[in-house]
Symmetry: C2
Subunit: 337 residues, 2 copies
């Protein structure tokens, strides 16, 4: 088995560089095929690395003097901060020095950098950001959550195709069910984008289109690939966080109301925590930005080591399954028809 | 105090006519100013009414032989079923025989009937459907959740104005905070609709615009009036149901895993149920369809008596506070500027 070389943006994210580098070390331990290029301020990276005992033949530290902050305008940041950890990671993927990059830094800068530096696969109109979201039946791919807020029907069709390839090959879901987010099940429902996309997806071969799904059915796990524009995708993702967070807080508050409930809480605490874990975003790795010439994986800004590790491990399957070749072939076939 | 005359669609909804009529009876008991015109198949309505002891001087049964089913195409249903309970209710509002109507029937038919039969207040471009949704800090108005899926910026501006009037007068929120649903806080974020609407709302006097809010902040209660197009509004509403429902199911499952957790469950059951109640949709009354010449209130399809009752009671404040006059004046002022 060949090595998968991952550029790790050690300076991006709320918990950088500590948790990022810790996650990298854990990935090295979990899988012998991982080689990491740890990109960031050399002295910071080395200081963290000194804390661990690890296989030094599979780590290279790449110095990058600048850091892109969360609030910076993405386009400006990518253009001007050439010596930032993120931009350096992007160029390493572009030049084939790495198979993939993982960053917990600015989403905007990652999207812009992916487009501008790494570049699109021929035939891909808009590269979508596609996180795995928890459902009652396991994970589903929410595609798009990225920057394509004013998407066209043909963009959404490509999202459906790329998402199917991802779920089939990376998540091993056979014949993944593709659902179009809409306000009702009937085909005449929805806004213009949804109505036109419905028609295109209905006539498309090679995907398992199950029709419209209502947002309520997403957490229920009705579809494996949840197709929508990035505005709606963002609302879905944030509603998961918002409703989940508030409900959890309310439950916790309830458990503390009296001595009786406090005793009850002690009895269920461990199990409840386990349950809640299965419904949290960070149980999965990061979100791939699909349709680029290399793999760019964005993990949550508040990622801890475990999520960083999962994101790195995810890159191995992505490379082994030749996802980009498959996307390239799939979209090329469509163009010929 | 004068009477508020409400037309109650006794045949609409999953639990009609039983729960609808029960809710009507409860409203009569709770407030002496309520007069109900109970519209539906006479024999069905009378059979239900016989179960209760109530003030017969405040009830009139209006016979309607037809029923609009949930699956029917709304436009066709409204046009052809002239003797349906819903269409009869609509005409009674239009002709001023009633102050308001309450229906748990088809949302589509209610929206269409509201537009076509009751008609818009002059100056209102698109009447939005605006349910109250639960937040950590109480209720917020989600406006629009109706049929305006391809809305224009000027529509959303009117939603902000009408929503502010509603929250201030009906829910007694002083200077209600208006938030525009977007994918980030910064004003340059979002799709074209959001960006243009942001500019218009920023320059609008007479509302308390707090800027963009992310979907995560909706359940947290950051805004009192949550402005969006109906597609996004539908996604928000359904995500509440979906995430809430799945999490609750998971928590319940956890409580049943062992003898220990079952004992724990017994100790927290009552309190947990109370907590969950505060985060359910049906704690509030129905959703008003704002901007019409009369009041049309749509309650959930699965409404039980309590929600029907709350919806009817809501009509009293709506009438007393002269909401329609206020909307009419507000939007007229805007036109003159």
């Amino acid at each position: 088995m060949s090595q998968t070389i991952v550029a790790l943006d050690c300076m991006g994210g709320d918990n950088a560089p500590g948790e990022i580098i810790k996650g990298g070390i854990e990935a090295l331990k979990e899988n012998k095929d991982v080689f990491l290029k740890m990109v960031g301020r050399q002295e910071d990276v080395n200081r963290e690395l000194e804390k661990y005992d690890y296989d030094k033949t599979r780590v290279e530290v790449v110095n990058a003097t600048e850091v892109i902050e969360t609030g910076e305008p993405p386009v400006v940041a990518i253009r001007t901060k050439k010596d930032s950890s993120l931009v350096k990671c992007m160029y390493m993927v572009k030049h084939g020095e790495c198979d993939a990059l993982v960053s917990a830094g600015s989403t905007g800068a990652t999207l812009v950098g992916g487009h501008v530096i790494v570049g699109r696969i021929k035939g891909v109109e808009r590269p979508p950001l596609a996180p795995l979201i928890p459902t009652e039946k396991g994970g589903a791919l929410l595609i798009d959550c990225g920057a394509n807020v004013d998407a066209k029907p043909s963009n959404l069709v490509q999202f459906a195709q790329m998402g199917s390839i991802y779920m089939e090959n990376i998540c091993k879901v056979k014949n993944p069910k593709v659902g179009l987010v809409n306000i009702g099940a009937e085909e005449e429902k929805g806004n213009n984008l949804a109505k036109e996309t419905y028609q295109l997806l209905s006539n498309l071969e090679g995907i398992n289109f199950i029709g419209n799904i209502e947002a309520r059915e997403i957490p229920e796990g009705k579809a494996d690939v949840v197709v929508c524009d990035a505005f709606v995708g963002n609302v879905i993702l944030k509603m998961y966080e918002g409703v989940g967070g508030v409900l959890l807080k309310k439950v916790k508050g309830t458990l503390m109301t009296s001595l009786k409930t406090k005793i009850g809480a002690l009895l269920i605490k461990k199990e409840l925590k386990e349950t809640m874990k299965t419904f949290q975003m960070d149980q999965y790795g990061g979100a791939p930005l699909l349709g680029l010439k290399g793999l760019v994986v964005k993990t949550h800004g508040n990622s801890k080591a475990i999520e960083v590790k999962n994101s790195i491990i995810q890159c191995i399957s992505f490379k082994e399954m030749n996802i980009n070749d498959k996307i390239s072939k799939k979209l090329a076939v469509k163009k010929e028809n």
